[in-house]
Symmetry: none
């Protein structure tokens, strides 16, 4: 990689000449095919893709099968768990004669639920539109004639444009580009396009277990998520685990008039405030006993990688209107390599126009626990529960009975989610990891950002647990893509460059 | 009153024989008219009565005028302040030839805001329903044929059923009962039914000043609130003052993914929890500096009255499912004679099905401050604000600007309600107070409970300040009426007995 550093220093403003000849071949092919790619993408985006919409989710799956057939991909099939009514995985494969390795390319074609009312005027989540740029930066709707090229700053607005139909399109067109240039992938390829990732992948485990033989591979490439906030390409070697706890504390059995009983009857909102306040200190550090134990130390290579990640702390503080971070003395990169405790939501009584002079009967909080490698989600939850007990609470798993209420002054109902899971991390110095790093680096003159983990969570531990395979995430889309929210979009420059990235991985040596 | 005590001792199980013949006459009249009274009440409860619903509030006022006209009440009119678009007071009067005293009977016809989703299945705040008893005690919806009497344990569920359309119904039907028995009130009567009490009586002062001449009287009878928790009748000589503060603290400008940014970006729910937790100690005592200063000491008579109030602490704890009170070492009677700080509502992000993996952008709490005689509401609010500043917060009165966000790590928007007011207390040994005590005592064989103050609040200080009149509160409804909350209800036995109480006052000597 040394010459790349050299190139980076010398040719910052002459970016394209640093790439390998193969990358330039791919780029040329993509340039010539822009309209074909966009037409295919727009048709794909026109089909609603919320996982619970069983009719349309199958239309998406059928279209992906058709896209695979056109490309001569083999053994195309729909994989489902025990019950075949849930959104299927669309599977296909390409055998490379003589290849010893097999790589599975993963993307998901379902998207987050949509509330069309929240989208900008003129946008419809499932009627994709081209804009001259991002809407907050003044982008306007455009049409591009078949005879002219797309400005790379063009955006497509639609649900799934970035998360993650872009992954499907990038992987399939990367394969086209490799073949069209008379080349072959350097490994056997398996395509695995999931249909209910945004619903929490509730049947992924079943599918992995059922198709264990079919899904053998040396590594999964997860094509999902955004490039670094600086715009640089990045490779992410792990994801945090995730678990939740819903806590409800109790005041009087019925709502009371806050004048007649205020400061006599216990107020559950105040009880919850005191309980939550006990969980973090003024420096943003979680005070729950043993909360930071169990963390598997980062390797030297991983520590170095974190140091090398360009700092976005100042940029993000400005963008988010924050004077300082919650966790004093920790950068964003350091914070996401630690387990965290976060409040997703908190409610008791009503505020605003619905507020009334009452003592509420209960107060509820949703706690989100992010986990890093070494944490066991059940154990991490248990630390929180033990802490709650140490604050004098009696923990129950149901609405309190009258007898329980009279016996215990501090009652808390604790509910856990069923789909909690642990973190996963692939070592950066595995041979396959090194090959993937080199392949991605070959497509850009800028230093590729290497992240030991993402702050976010995916159930990638399943791939390791049920198949014994590694996984590495190679994201391609712009970071301002409004993933999971209204006005989701992709910047075409990211799509083109994502196809190059995937093609380079298919040709990794 | 001595013979009543005597009667009480001898005839505990023969309650009705202790009342005066007039009370029995009233009771008989009410018994015969039950269905007429309930029909009128149900029609009244069917009209939504949130003060901000200007169309329906006027429909309520029109119906009350009609109810007054039917009874031959005179000089019926709507009283408004400077701007006549706010909910009017419905006024009427009855002159008693030769009478020297004038009593104003007060009730309010508006109710607290409603969130129908929080009401029990089958209930609708403005579609009143009859139940065989209270829902927590297994009451079921019933219908009662015109030919049969109502079980006195029957409840009506609807917003305003207790607070305080019951007051309007009791006063008007008491007047009917007096007249129907060929009697006359012993004083001139003025009816004053307010339409925005639950909104904080924002125009009451204007109305009192504008109609000062019309509203001259010797005393106001405030028919609002519940009887004593033992079920005994009570007379309340004062009210606490009330002030609110809405606090909003801020996290990131836009909702953030709790994985990518959790424990790095400040979480406003955690900030608010810490701020609230700093306001009370583990003993339930408010820790805000000077919070309990300024309180005017109780007179000997008032202190004795408090001692004589039957203790309901154990009963209420059992009823409310509470092992212990929030304010350690204080009885309910002591607690309501102190200023209090209470959380009415608290919210950040979402809980339950709407919860998502986010860091919310803000967290809001509504604080309710109850005041006793001696407290000035502005000064009491200021103590809280000073405390917030001492926790490192910068206090603003608007949504923060980008510049403010980047300059201050702890920002809080503080909004006060405009209609806060101080406490008021009438001496128990005034001649008019003694006459009212005797009248109420004449309706019951049980000792009437005398309370120097109510825990609740009404702007009664205005009556003293702007009209120079005394006010005494004579509540009638059941204490478990869910006033201000979902499933508000009235027990019919309380309505019947409330009519008797008001009729006895109209005949006081």
């Amino acid at each position: 990689m040394k010459w790349l550093h050299f190139g980076f220093l010398l040719f910052t403003f002459e970016y394209s000449i640093c790439q390998t000849p193969e990358v330039l071949q791919v780029r040329k092919y993509v340039t010539q095919r822009e309209h074909v790619i966009i037409d295919e993408f727009m048709s794909f985006l026109s089909i609603p893709n919320v996982a619970s919409d069983s009719v349309n989710i199958r239309r998406n799956a059928a279209l992906i099968q058709e896209m695979m057939r056109k490309r001569g991909i083999e053994n195309i099939q729909l994989l489902t768990g025990i019950n075949d009514r849930f959104p299927p995985v669309v599977y296909g494969e390409v055998k490379t004669p003589g290849a010893k390795e097999t790589i599975i390319y993963y993307a998901h074609y379902d998207g987050q639920p949509v509330n069309p009312d929240q989208w900008a005027r003129g946008l419809d989540p499932f009627n994709p539109k081209l804009y001259s740029g991002s809407i907050p930066n003044g982008g306007k709707e455009i049409s591009v004639s078949k005879s002219s090229r797309f400005d790379p700053e063009t955006r497509i607005y639609a649900r799934g444009s970035s998360d993650d139909k872009a992954g499907v399109i990038a992987v399939l067109n990367a394969y086209d580009a490799v073949i069209a240039n008379g080349l072959k992938p350097t490994h056997n390829i398996k395509f695995f396009f999931e249909g209910e990732e945004e619903a929490g992948s509730p049947h992924l485990q079943e599918i992995l277990e059922k198709y264990k033989a079919l899904l053998q591979s040396d590594c999964w490439i997860i094509c999902d998520g955004p490039v670094h906030q600086t715009g640089k390409k990045q490779i992410v070697f792990g994801v945090r685990g995730d678990a939740h706890l819903d806590l409800t504390v109790y005041g009087p059995k019925r709502p009371l008039h806050s004048g007649h009983y205020g400061n006599w009857a216990p107020n559950p909102a105040m009880m919850l405030a005191k309980l939550l306040a006990s969980m973090k200190d003024e420096e943003g550090k979680v005070t729950i006993k043993g909360f930071y134990d169990d963390v598997k130390p980062l390797s030297d290579l991983e520590q170095k990688a974190i140091k090398d990640v360009p700092s976005v702390d100042q940029q993000m503080k400005k963008e988010l209107g924050l004077k300082e971070a919650e966790f004093k003395g920790k950068s964003l990169g350091e914070a996401i390599n630690l387990p965290s405790l976060n409040i997703n939501g908190m409610q008791s009584g009503n505020v605003g126009k619905l507020a009334s002079n009452q003592i509420p009967t209960s107060a509820t909080v949703v706690l989100d626990l992010r986990l890093v490698v070494g944490n066991d989600w059940k154990k991490q939850q248990q630390k929180v529960i033990d802490h709650i007990r140490n604050q004098g609470y009696t923990v129950i798993d149901h609405e309190p009975t009258d007898a329980e209420r009279l016996e215990h002054s501090k009652l808390v109902k604790v509910a856990s989610d069923d789909f909690a899971y642990n973190a996963q991390r692939t070592s950066m110095d595995l041979p396959i990891a090194k090959k993937i790093i080199a392949a991605v680096q070959s497509t850009t003159s800028e230093q590729v950002v290497l992240q030991p983990t993402s702050g976010g969570s995916l159930p990638l531990y399943m791939i390791e647990k049920y198949l014994g395979s590694k996984s590495i995430t190679v994201p391609i889309v712009n970071h301002d893509n409004n993933q999971h929210a209204e006005n989701e979009n992709i910047r075409l420059a990211n799509l083109w460059s994502g196809i190059e990235t995937m093609a380079a991985i298919m040709r990794m040596k």
